[in-house]
Structure formats: structure tokens, C-alpha cells
């Protein structure tokens, strides 16, 4: 009888509503994390900009030394690629778009004859790369949601080690940059050698050029600055990755909640229709039964 269908529908509605509750909760959690991770980006800005200002100051005082330290290498035998993704899924295209961009970059480098050594932050990277037969040298998990500076320092020291030892000539980063709550994009940038911070949105120092004193002299200062600047860049990439992850998750979960709402409504309508049908059938049966009895008299 039609009552069976009604029961099945009722069960489906219940499960859709349960899912909706979960996605709604995840949406709200992600929303609160967005605010927090954005605040951390803001708190990091003075340090990052200060760092870039000092490098620029030092680089403009001794361009020859700067070129030696900061130039793009002419020939790259081995490149290190650092990929930053999330530890968790359910965040729309956040992980997969970074991973796909990284895969493209690796293919491109290999095509040029460069050996690639892969490093990754986030639990989603090992699964992806292992499945595709890439050799992931090292992965860091457990802090993609809330990176601390100590985490950044660890990642920076690990990716810099082969570069410092001369085993690699370039360190590249693929991650999501967070511009605003409405705008994030997957980008790749060169971490080492440090790129000249010329195109960055740092206000130039108001000091008179050539009148800045250095302690110690520029070349040594730059060599001390390089590892610290790397830490700073990795940290800001981690922070922006985390903020992008939460934004992406919030958006994905909001969409899932909307879908659940819609599905629940559709199912409710079908269920009401089925119930109405079964009532109509029952009435018909009763009426026709009574009719038959009366006419039989």
C-alpha cells in the first residue's frame, strides 16, 4: 500500500534534516574561524611589511650584494616545490585547485628537465600525490587550520635545508592567497632565492637614500635576513591558506545547507502528496464498499 512509500519518504526527510544540521553547524564554525584567521593576517602584517622594508633598504644600498643574494638562478637542476593545502575536506574546491595547480607546475618543471622535490603542508596533499604516483618528500600535518609561527619556522627550515646545502637552486610555493573574504586565488611564487620586494605594496622608506647606516654591513645583514624573511613568507602563506580554507568551507557548507533545505522541501511535498493519495484511495474503497452493500440489499 501507499503507506509504505510515505514511511520511506519520512525517513529520507529525517536524514536530510540531520545532514542539514551538521552542514549548518560547520558553516557557523567556519564563519567564526574566518574572523579569527583574518585577524591573525592583520596582526602579522606589521612584521611582514617591516621585514620587506628592511630587505628593500638593504638591497637598495648595495645592489651588487643584493643581486648575488636575491637574483633568480640562471640554471635550475633541482627545484623544491612547497604546496600548502588544508588538513580537512568539505571545503569546496580549496584543496583540489591548489593541488591541481601544483601538479601542473611539477609537470612543467619536469618537462624542462628540472628535478622536483615535493614538500607539502596539509593532510590532503599526501593522499592526492600518492595516488598519482608522485614522490612526496615530506609532509607536515596537524596545523593547517591554525598555523603558529613555530610551525612556519619548522617548514621553512626543512625546505631551506637542501637549498642551503646546494642540492636545490630554487624553492617554489603553491598556495592560496587571501585578498579579502570575497577574493582568494591560487598562486605560485618563488620563495628562494628571495624575490626582490619591489612589486610589493610596501610604502617606501621616507629616509634619504644612501644615508642609512647598516650594522653589520649590508652583505652580512642580507645573509642573516634571508632565512628570517623565508620564515615570514611561509608564515603569511600559512595564515592566508588557513583563512582561505575557512572561507571556502563556509561557502561550501552554506551551499550544502541550502541544498538540504531545498531537498527537504521537495521531499515533504512528495510525502504530502503520497499521504493524500493514500487517504483518497482509502475513502474510495470505503465509499465503493458501502455503495456495493447498499445496492446488494
Amino acid at each position: 500500500m501507499a503507506g509504505g512509500q510515505e514511511r520511506i519518504l519520512r525517513q529520507r526527510i529525517k536524514s536530510v534534516n540531520a545532514t542539514r544540521k551538521i552542514t549548518k553547524a560547520m558553516e557557523l564554525i567556519a564563519a567564526s574561524q574566518i574572523a579569527r584567521s583574518q585577524a591573525r593576517i592583520t596582526a602579522n602584517r606589521p612584521y611582514r611589511e617591516g621585514m620587506q622594508r628592511i630587505i628593500r633598504e638593504a638591497a637598495s644600498a648595495d645592489p651588487a650584494a643584493a643581486r648575488k643574494m636575491l637574483a633568480t638562478p640562471e640554471h635550475v637542476d633541482t627545484a623544491i616545490v612547497l604546496v600548502i593545502v588544508g588538513d580537512r575536506g568539505l571545503s569546496g574546491a580549496y584543496n583540489s585547485s591548489v593541488l591541481r595547480a601544483a601538479e601542473r607546475l611539477v609537470h612543467m618543471l619536469q618537462h624542462q628537465g628540472t628535478t622536483v622535490r615535493l614538500f607539502a603542508v596539509g593532510k590532503k596533499a599526501p593522499a592526492y600525490f600518492r595516488f598519482r604516483g608522485f614522490d612526496l618528500e615530506q609532509s607536515f600535518v596537524g596545523f593547517a587550520d591554525r598555523p603558529s609561527f613555530a610551525d612556519a619556522r619548522l617548514v621553512a627550515s626543512r625546505v631551506a635545508a637542501p637549498f642551503v646545502a646546494g642540492e636545490a637552486q630554487q624553492v617554489l610555493l603553491v598556495s592560496t592567497r587571501f585578498y579579502s573574504a570575497g577574493s582568494q586565488s591560487v598562486e605560485s611564487q618563488q620563495l628562494l632565492p628571495l624575490s626582490m620586494p619591489s612589486d610589493l605594496e610596501v610604502a617606501p622608506s621616507t629616509g634619504l637614500k644612501g644615508y642609512t647606516e647598516f650594522e653589520p654591513e649590508v652583505e652580512r645583514l642580507l645573509s642573516e635576513l634571508a632565512p628570517k624573511a623565508l620564515e615570514s613568507e611561509v608564515f603569511s602563506a600559512l595564515l592566508e591558506g588557513a583563512a582561505s580554507f575557512h572561507t571556502s568551507q563556509q561557502r561550501a557548507m552554506a551551499a550544502a545547507t541550502d541544498n538540504a533545505d531545498e531537498l527537504g522541501q521537495t521531499l515533504t511535498r512528495i510525502m504530502n502528496r503520497a499521504r493524500q493519495d493514500s487517504i483518497t484511495t482509502e475513502i474510495m474503497e470505503i465509499v465503493s464498499g458501502a455503495e456495493a452493500l447498499r445496492s446488494g440489499k
Binding site: R40, A43, N44, P46, Y47, R48, G50, M51, R53, I54, E57, A58, S148, F149, A152, R153, L154, S157, R158, A161, S205, T206, G207, L208, Y211, T212, E213, F214, E215, P216, R220, L221, E224, L225, K228, E231, S232, F235
Partner: protein, 143 residues
């Protein structure tokens, strides 16, 4: 009046910002003092104490290495920015914790083989931080 605007900044937060009479710290070339109207200067900081004199007294910060920049800001203000990966207020240092961290790092160093270069470097860095904290506290206490 010439003023000195001091900012002590770490990657996680701006630790302290305010007007000051003087800033004292130590670079790889030695102890130095920054007063208002100081000439533009960029340099490094060795692990140790950064002292800031304000109208309400002296503040001490422990930095675990870093950099600083001194330059003219707006209208007669001299800006001194201290950038440190890790920095903290001297009085917030937990001596017992630093002592424990020091012992843990020393233990790690003795147990590590020579091949574990990266782990060794991390332990050395941790040991350095613990020792800086302890030294800063001991010298502050003896004064």
C-alpha cells in the same frame, strides 16, 4: 619636541607600540642606544634584552634574535621598529619552564645522532631560546 616612536613587532602580534625616550639593544656589532632624531639605521639584533625607556618607567623585552630599523616618520617623529621572530616581556618569562626546556633540549642533543642535522639545529635553537630567557632573568634579578 622630538619623539621616538617604538614598535616591537613579532609575526603573531605587535607586542608593544608607544612613545619612548630611548631604546637600548644589542646588535652583532655591540650595544647601542637609539634616541629621538637618530639617523637612519638598519641592523640585526642578537638574542638578549631590548630596553625601552618611557615616561612611566623602563620596559624590558627579551628578543630571540631579530632586526631593527630606525628612520624618520611623520613630522619630527623618529620611528624605531624592532622585528623579532620570538619576543616577550621580561617579566612574563616562566623561569621554571625555561629551565625545563633547556634540560629537554640538552637531552635531545645528547641522544641525537650526527645525521639528524635538521633535528639537531632545531634542538640547538630551542636551547638557545631557553638560555636567553634564563640569562635575561638572572641579570635582571641581580640588578
Amino acid at each position: 619636541m622630538a619623539t621616538l616612536l617604538v614598535e616591537i613587532v613579532t609575526p603573531e602580534t605587535a607586542l608593544w607600540t608607544g612613545e619612548a625616550g630611548a631604546l637600548m639593544a644589542r646588535s652583532s656589532e655591540g650595544q647601542f642606544t637609539i634616541l629621538p632624531e637618530h639617523t637612519a639605521l638598519v641592523g640585526d639584533l642578537v638574542p638578549g634584552v631590548v630596553r625601552v625607556t618611557t615616561t612611566t618607567g623602563e620596559l624590558s623585552f627579551v628578543v630571540h634574535g631579530g632586526f631593527f630599523q630606525v628612520g624618520p616618520g611623520d613630522e619630527g617623529v623618529t620611528r624605531a621598529t624592532v622585528l623579532a621572530g620570538v619576543a616577550e616581556r621580561l617579566e612574563e618569562i616562566d623561569v621554571a619552564r625555561a629551565q625545563a626546556a633547556k634540560e629537554a633540549a640538552e637531552l635531545t642533543l645528547t641522544s641525537l645522532s650526527d645525521e639528524a642535522e635538521v633535528a639537531r639545529a632545531e634542538a640547538v635553537a630551542a636551547l638557545g631560546r631557553a638560555e636567553t630567557r634564563l640569562r635575561a632573568r638572572t641579570s635582571a634579578a641581580s640588578k
